[in-house]
Symmetry: C2
Subunit: 254 residues, 2 copies
DNA sequence: CCCTGTAATATGTCGGAGTAATTGGGAATC
DNA sequence: GATTCCCAATTACTCCGACATATTACAGGG
């Protein structure tokens, strides 16, 4: 007899459904479980130190097999969210053990209402790293980098940040800067943070607050990098991040 | 009949053995497999785009069950190293998909001979982040932070960096600074990088190059933070990182 | 009161069977 | 001859039930 389960199985895919994050066709079952538990932990539904129900019990509760449940737990373990020990059960680790910069963890953190303090921390980190990245880019960029940035800037002018194409162009622009730094660590870090920070743009739009035209700020950064002026590039990028922070801060305050 | 397998099973624990990273008693089997495959990927033994052997074949080759092998693969997938798709097999992802800042990935990267370029990237990132962290710490530290830093500094004076106690004191000092920033993102990031960078101290010692007394640099940072002088703290920390970079660079060049 | 040994329990590991999905090639069509 | 569409083989995904192992907790003795 095959179990018909209600929550996150393939059968009830709800393709167009608004049903939150059930499970798309491409996503694996253990991925869906990991997402479910990850968001539950990040949202504080499970607190550090809490011990989850036993494998068998929890797997039955979710109506999945123990294997699928275990693989999901391995994912969470890999990201430092939980720790499993024989006899002791699976416990949620203290927050300082979490890999907060992991792309998935960031996505889970922003799945619900993100913690204001955490958003502030991320912006602070961004305000530290991105200007430095712009400084390096001004020193190391070549013709190809400049061309990509130029194209992205043109695309940003054509579309607005309210459209997906516009946001893609914005991402391309920043990614081009990161590539120009020739620093993989910087690239990975800022790509994660940038993606997370861009989740907040939806809040900005929800608040119908798109007060500022971002083009001039980006042009200043672009000009400085083209000119090979590290100090000016860092300062221009610093302004850009600061302004973005102000926008989202005022938007989230509502 | 129970299989007697040669590579990473519990039976041949070699407790005192020098046998590299076989498998301690506490480590799980799938953790050992993940470590094995992770280091193999990070060392370039498997190149991006390569597709691993099928589950059954590879699991047999490693002489472990498919469950253990799959859980290990889930860990690698969670860290962005590989991607599994039906029919297509499990492929190594391009390097820009790897979570290079994940603590485990960093550990795997430094398990063998670390890539010089990557070490340079990490130091560059550290040179960006740590001075900024010191600046924030100088603004936000309280009495408790200062006390912890003071104790760590005293411990550093008693021991040298050649001893484990000395390195622990060094870690405590830097962690105290990070805690004083009140920024979790900064804390997680720099803790990972700092740990990885400290792996390089073993290279320094292998090269018998401990040319510099680290105490004065640390004292300068400490004094600036105690005085609440952000600019001085950032500058002193910048010097500290630069000097550390020079040391390891000269050590690794040999 | 502390220490030690033993038993209970939950996680870890195993192997096999069945399902689902993607891909690549072959056939049919334009 | 090139293109499109469909089918089938291959592979990962999921499930299941059993056994092994490690850790905790309790009980007994010192």
């Amino acid at each position: 007899m095959v179990k018909e389960n209600p929550s996150l199985r393939t059968d009830e895919t709800e393709k167009g459904g608004n049903g939150r994050a059930a499970r798309g066709p491409g996503r694996r079952l253990h991925g869906a479980i990991a997402h479910k538990l990850g968001t539950a932990i990040l949202s504080g539904q499970y607190q550090p130190g809490d011990t989850l129900s036993g494998e068998v019990a929890f797997a039955e509760e979710l109506e999945v097999s123990r294997s699928a449940y275990r693989e999901a737990i391995q994912v969470l373990t890999a990201k430092g969210l939980v720790e499993s020990r024989p006899k002791a059960g699976t416990r949620v680790l203290p927050r300082n053990r979490w890999n907060l910069l992991d792309p998935d963890v960031l996505a889970w953190a922003f799945a619900g209402e993100p913690d204001i303090q955490f958003v502030r921390d991320l912006f602070e980190l961004r305000a530290i790293v991105e200007p430095a990245a712009a400084r390096l880019a001004a020193q190391r960029r070549d013709k190809d980098d400049i061309k990509i940035m130029k194209d992205a800037l043109a695309a940003m002018r054509r579309h607005t940040l309210a459209t997906e194409a516009g946001r893609a162009a914005d991402r391309d622009f920043h990614n081009a800067i990161l590539n120009a730094t020739r620093n993989d660590a910087l690239l990975v870090l800022t790509a994660s943070i940038g993606a997370a920070v861009n989740w907040t743009t939806q809040y900005k739009q929800r608040a119908r607050a798109l007060p500022r035209n971002p083009i001039p700020d980006h042009v200043r950064v672009y000009d400085a990098i083209v000119a090979g002026d590290p100090a000016a590039a860092a300062e221009a990028m610093g302004m850009l991040v600061d302004l973005a922070l102000e926008d989202t801060a005022s938007a989230m305050a509502r």
